[in-house]
Amino acid sequence: VSAVHQTERFSDALDRALTSSEQREFDQHISACGECAAAYSQYRETIGKVRSLPMAKMPVPVRIPADLLPRRSWTEGLRAYLRRGRGVPTAIALVAAAGLLVVASRQSTVNNSSGSESALRPAVVSPVSGAGSGAQAQAAGAAPKAADIAASCVATLLPHPVAPPPSYGNVVTVRGSNGIATQITVAAPSSKVHAGDTVPVFASATVSLQSTGARDSTPSAQIAIGPCVETSTPATAKTVDGSALADVSIPASAHAGDKIVVYATVPAGSGNLATLPQLQVMLTLTVQ
C-alpha cells in the first residue's frame, strides 16, 4: 500500500480518469488510510453538490439580427417549423410571437437609430408620446394610467448603471425596498424651460440583486433599466438612441406658467423580474 496520501488523485479518481494501476494503488490506500478515506468522502460529497447546482434560465430570448436572416414569407417559416414536428399549438404561438416581434421591430425603428444592432435588444420605447395617445389627452399633471403604460411600454435593460450628468440640477430620485431594492431617477438640466425648447431628460432605474452567481456579497448584481419617458400634455418625449436620455419637446404654443410633468416609468415585471413592482417618478418643468 502506498504510504503517500492520495489527495492529488481525488479529481482524477472522481472522474474515473486514473489508469488501472493508479486506480488500484488509490483504492488500496483509501481502504487503509482513514484520513484519506474521510477526505475523499467529503470531496465527493462537495463536488456532488456543485454538480447539482441549478441551471439558470436565459432571461431574454436570443435574437439573430434580421439582416443576417434570409428573407422569406411567414408561411415558409411556419412550414419549416411544422416540418420539425413541433405541433400546431406551438406553431400558432409562434405566429403570435412573430406578430409581437414585428411590433417590437417597428418600435425599434422609431426609437433606436443604432442600425442592425437594434434587433439584438428589446426596443427602447417612448410609449405614449405619439399623436393621439391616451396620455396626451390627459390634463397637465395627471399621472398616466398604469394600464396604459404597461400596455405600451417596454423598458430596456441598460449595459450598466448610470447616473445623471452632474450638471443636471433638477433631479428626483425615488428609492424603494418593497420586496426588491429599487431606485428610479429622472433629471433635467433645470426646472425652467421655454416654449420651443428641446429639453434633455435623464431617466434610469436600478434593481439590486443578491445574485447567487456573484463574486461579492453586497450588492452582487445590479440590473440597470431604461424607463419609458412620458409627459403630460402638451409636450412630447422620445428616447435617444436607446440610452437613458430622452428629448422632451416643449411646444412653441406653451405659455409662461404652464407646468409640464415628465414621468419615468418601469412597468411591473420588467427585466424578467416577476416580483418587480411598477416604478414611477415624476419631474416638473415650468415654462417661463
Binding site: D15, A39, I47, A56, L120, L157, L209, G213, I223
Partner: protein, 191 residues
Amino acid sequence: MEDEAVVAAVRRGDHDAFSILVDRYQDRLYTTALRLLGSPVDAADVVQDAFVRAYTHIDEIRGATIRAWLYRVTTNCVRDVQRRNMRRATVSIDAEDNVIDLPDPSLGPEQSALSREEVSAIGAAIGELPAEFAEVVIMRDLNDLSYEEISQVLSCPVGTVKSRLSRGRAQLVTRLRESSTGLFSKSEEQL
C-alpha cells in the same frame, strides 16, 4: 436530432434549425457566463453574442464540436467583458442598506436539490476561484463537458485541463469547508 445533423441542416439553408441549438444550449451557456461574470445583464449579452457569432460562422466551424465551439466563443466573450469591466470606471449607484437577499430570479431554488444557502455558498465559492480554475470547474462539473471538449474550448492540452480542474476543485472544497455557513463542515479527520 444530433448537433452534427442540426449544423448540417443550417449549412444546407434550413436556418430555422438553428433554433434547436439555441434551445439546447442557451441556458447552459448563460449559466456558464453568469457564474463567471456575476452579472445577469452581461451574461445575457455574452450568450446573445455567442449565438450571433455561431450563426455567422457556422460554415467555418472545423475541428471541434458545435458544443465545444459555443463554449469557446462564450468563454472568449466572458474574458472580453472581464477585461472591459476592469478598464471601465462604472458610476456607482448608492445601494444603501436596502439590498435584500434575493437570488437571481432565473435561478429557481425549486429546481435544485440544494438548499438556498448551499446554492448561494457554492456560487460565491466558485466566484472566488481564479478565473482559469473557475472556467474548467464550471465546464466540467456544471456542464458535464469531457476533458477533451474542455481542451478544445480552451485550446490547451488535456493535461492542463486536468491540472486546473484538480486545483480548482481542491480550492473549492477548501473554501466551502472554511466558509462561515457551516454547511460544508470539516470531517473529523482532515489531512
